[in-house]
């Protein structure tokens, strides 16, 4: 799914400058699931904006709405009656959703409330890691189901670099080396022969760094104590 995280409140407020009637629009899909832009977050942000307005006497009118999927016109259409009322939409959906809203309502300014980060999956409650680089040319069948694009800091296509130490990536000891994982996986699958297969270079313009990106929403992560308290509950 698509992983995003809310922009800093101050930045959101800055971007809203000059607007008075605001519709905070959430999405029930990916961003809801990664606790960034669902109805709950919409409600919290909207209430915070109201408090901000009251404090600074801005007289903002803040509305809330959450649709099933902001990336689909049919759902976004539901917003029409509300968008008429406002002079800007604060989209709590991913970049895709925000764009669809803009596309549907070309005359109303759309401001992103989220930073869309990556395509990933929850590791545990509150922790999401990137899994797919969206390169458009999938090689998972050759790499034991592990994506070198998303999970190798250097996006190497044919084996690890010298920075791979005891299965860990040189960028930091916490990050596993994708190619080590690929090797282990192929070994388990009995298909080490696939290591031989040469994966041709991709046209990979957007540079990236820092390896797989992980978003941690600390307020949702189970603390050590909690984990202890709930030891073995599941």
């Amino acid at each position: 799914m698509i992983i995003g995280e809310q922009k800093p409140f101050k930045e959101i407020v800055r971007n809203l400058e000059g607007h008075e009637t605001i519709l905070v629009a959430g999405c029930r899909s990916c961003v809801a699931i990664c606790l960034a832009g669902g109805e709950k977050e919409v409600g919290v942000l909207a209430e915070s904006l109201r408090i901000h307005s009251d404090l600074n006497d801005l007289g903002w009118e803040v509305g809330e709405a959450t649709v099933e999927r902001q990336c689909e016109k049919e759902w976004v259409r539901e917003l029409a009656p509300l968008v008429e009322e406002v002079d800007c939409v604060l989209s709590m959906a991913c970049g895709v959703g925000a764009q669809i809203v803009q596309e549907m309502f070309p005359d109303t300014r759309v401001i992103p409330g989220l930073n869309t980060s990556n395509m990933g999956a929850p590791e545990e409650q509150g922790i999401w890691s990137e899994k797919c680089g969206g390169c458009g040319d999938c090689v998972l069948h050759l790499t034991g189901g592990i994506c070198p694009m998303a999970r190798c800091a250097k996006n190497l296509l044919n084996g690890p670099c010298g920075g791979s130490q005891d299965g860990m990536c040189e960028i930091d000891p916490e990050t596993p080396c994708a190619w080590d994982q690929i090797f282990q996986s192929l070994k388990r699958l009995g298909r080490l022969d696939l290591m031989e297969e040469n994966i041709p270079p991709k046209d990979w313009t957007p540079s990236r760094n820092g390896g797989p990106r992980t978003i941690v929403k600390s307020s949702a992560v189970l603390t050590e104590k909690e984990k202890r308290a709930r030891e073995g509950l599941d």
């Binding site: 669902g38 977050e41 409650q125 073995g232 509950l233």
Partner: protein
């Protein structure tokens, strides 16, 4: 969600689409409705006199929805509650507020009052104007605060919706006992003597019916007990069987019991996991010069006593984990050796001699008979030749001793086996060593994290036999009380609005009681019998799809609104 028979299925979901594109009216919120009765308590002088109850009455009776507002002496008394019932019936009120002392003290009574007047028991709200008002503030402060508290209660009350509620006998009064040692037998005996039907499921390897150390339990007693219960027509013994699946809710569990003949589903209202830990022989045992306490006993049974004996009660790893039974056992055997031949040398190596309660008397006797004690922290080093050498650091002398001896007796340690599987089936956690973890919260002796499933036996914690007996009987007694008392479901329970659920699994991941699950519709649902009403999932649900009866967002919002946002 599966509501038990008899409960009114009430939904809080407002499914009118496209509701969610309106500024969300929080689910389950209706416009404030209802005909509200307010009963203010004088509580002798502890409310009236410490605040001006009359002015509170004037303030409140003018609120919309309030049909009836009266001051009473003790609404909680039997007589007044009858009056309340009549007032509710006469004025055809559909909810009411009581302002008086703490809901923790009186809530239960007014719930039944609500029922007696034909209302859902959860259509009552209580304003605490005593403990949290009249007893702690001066007259004028208390008066104005009481006004706010009652207004807030009315505001919340006007948004109450009937909560699912079912009270009735449990579906099954039978109890499942799973285990194969002393605690299982004792628990079953207790249940039988309390007249309960028992399914005694014995896993494959029977062990530890009788402990090596008797602890005052009459020899043969447990064997008799076992025969008695196996003959009892209240007990169905499932020999060489294991529980493969265990699901349902307190009062109505279903267990899949598999034996060599095949699998069988049995219904039970409660379950007791009565697991005994088994002995872990220490690595340096060799059967001749280094033996267990049990082996020592058989040596003594043959009338033999070695001249020099060293007993080691420390575990061979460094982890300090005292097991009192090993100490008492060592003391008893040391005394027995001295009885057989006062001249023999017996030395007990320990960090602390764990002779709790009356076992202290054994400790004294051992000392008076000349048994010597060495205090040490780390487990001694044992080297075996024709004789055995024990190297140990004596804490009192502060020096390393090397003792030559004819026999070394090592205490055995206990560790539960197979508990991982049991834990999985029943959903009760085990720790790293495999011991069952009783619920850590508050003090609920013998309770597990799963309501209706009780724990006892050395599989929970090392114990002496007499402690095992006590624990098993009390676990059985609680199980019996549970299946023979009326069960209550509902009240403050969570409910999912499928319309807005994103099936994001947040509730499933965050519920401590495994109440939420994904139903056929692919949306989350709450197993009402398992929901304890904590509301954790409600606070977390990213789609605000879950609400908690009696504490909905709207009800709390109204309460908060009434309490603050007032001129100072």
């Amino acid at each position: 969600m599966t509501l038990p028979p008899g409960s009114e299925p009430v939904t809080m979901s407002s499914s009118s689409r496209p509701a969610r594109t309106r500024r969300p009216v929080v689910r389950g919120e209706r416009e404030p409705t209802g005909r509200i009765g307010v009963f203010l308590c004088r509580c002798g002088g502890s409310v009236d006199g410490r605040l001006d109850i009359e002015s509170v009455r004037e303030k409140v009776s003018s609120m919309d929805g309030v049909e009836e507002c009266m001051v009473m002496d003790f609404p909680c008394s039997m007589e007044s509650r009858e009056t309340i019932v009549n007032v509710i019936r006469e004025n055809d009120l559909d909810r009411f507020v009581v302002a008086g002392c703490s809901p923790k003290a009186v809530e239960a009574r007014f719930k039944s009052t609500a029922q007696e007047s034909g209302l859902n028991p959860y259509m009552v709200e209580i304003a605490n104007i005593r403990e949290q008002c009249s007893l702690v503030h001066n007259l004028s402060e208390a008066t104005s605060k009481a006004g706010l508290l009652v207004e807030a209660a009315v505001a919340k009350c006007s948004l109450l919706v009937p909560a699912p509620h079912h009270r009735g006998r449990v579906e099954s009064e039978e109890v499942l006992v799973y285990g194969n040692g002393m605690s299982a037998v004792v628990a079953t005996d207790e249940l039988v003597s309390e007249g309960a039907k028992v399914h005694l499921v014995l896993p494959f390897s029977p062990h530890r019916l009788v402990f090596n150390y008797h602890d005052g339990i009459r020899p043969g007693h447990l064997e008799d007990m076992r025969d008695r219960i196996t003959d009892s027509d209240l007990v169905r013994v499932h020999g060489h069987s294991s529980v493969e699946r265990f699901e349902g809710e307190p009062g109505a569990f279903t267990a899949l019991v598999r034996s060599s003949e095949g699998a069988e589903e049995i219904r039970c209202g409660a379950a007791i996991i009565a697991w005994e830990a088994s002995e872990v022989p220490s690595p340096s045992l060799n059967g001749s010069l280094v033996v267990t306490q049990a082996e020592l006993e058989s040596i003594m049974d043959q009338g033999r006593v070695p001249d020099r004996t060293v007993m080691i009660t420390l575990r061979e790893e460094d982890t300090y984990c005292p097991e009192r039974i090993t100490h008492i056992e060592a003391l008893r055997n040391a005394i027995r050796m001295k009885e057989m031949d006062p001249r023999v040398q017996v030395t007990i190596v320990a960090r602390d001699v764990l002779a709790f309660g009356l076992s202290e008397l054994d400790y004294r006797e051992a000392m008076s008979r000349g048994v010597s004690f060495i205090r040490t922290e780390a487990s001694p080093l044992i080297t075996v030749g024709d004789t055995v050498k024990v190297r140990v650091k004596d804490l009192n002398l502060g020096e390393e001793l090397s003792i030559e001896t004819d026999l070394v007796v090592m205490s055995s340690w206990t560790q539960p086996y197979d508990t991982g599987h049991v834990a999985q089936v029943f959903g009760t956690p085990v720790d790293r060593e495999g011991f069952f973890i009783p619920t850590q919260v508050k003090l609920k002796p013998t309770a597990s994290i799963v309501e209706g499933v009780f724990l006892c036996g050395t599989g929970v914690e090392s114990k002496t036999p007499s402690e095992v007996v006590l624990e098993a009987r009390s676990a059985a007694s609680r199980a019996k009380a549970m299946v023979s008392s009326k069960m209550e479901w509902g009240g403050a329970v969570a409910e999912v609005d499928p319309e807005s659920c994103s099936a994001c699994l947040t509730c499933i991941r965050s519920c401590p009681f495994n109440a939420p699950f994904i139903g056929e519709t692919g949306k989350a649902e709450i197993e009402i019998g398992l929901c304890q009403g904590c509301g954790i999932c409600v606070g977390l649900c990213p789609s605000r799809a879950i609400q908690l009866y009696c504490y909905t967002d709207g009800q709390l919002g109204a309460q908060i609104g009434a309490l603050v946002g007032r001129v100072r």
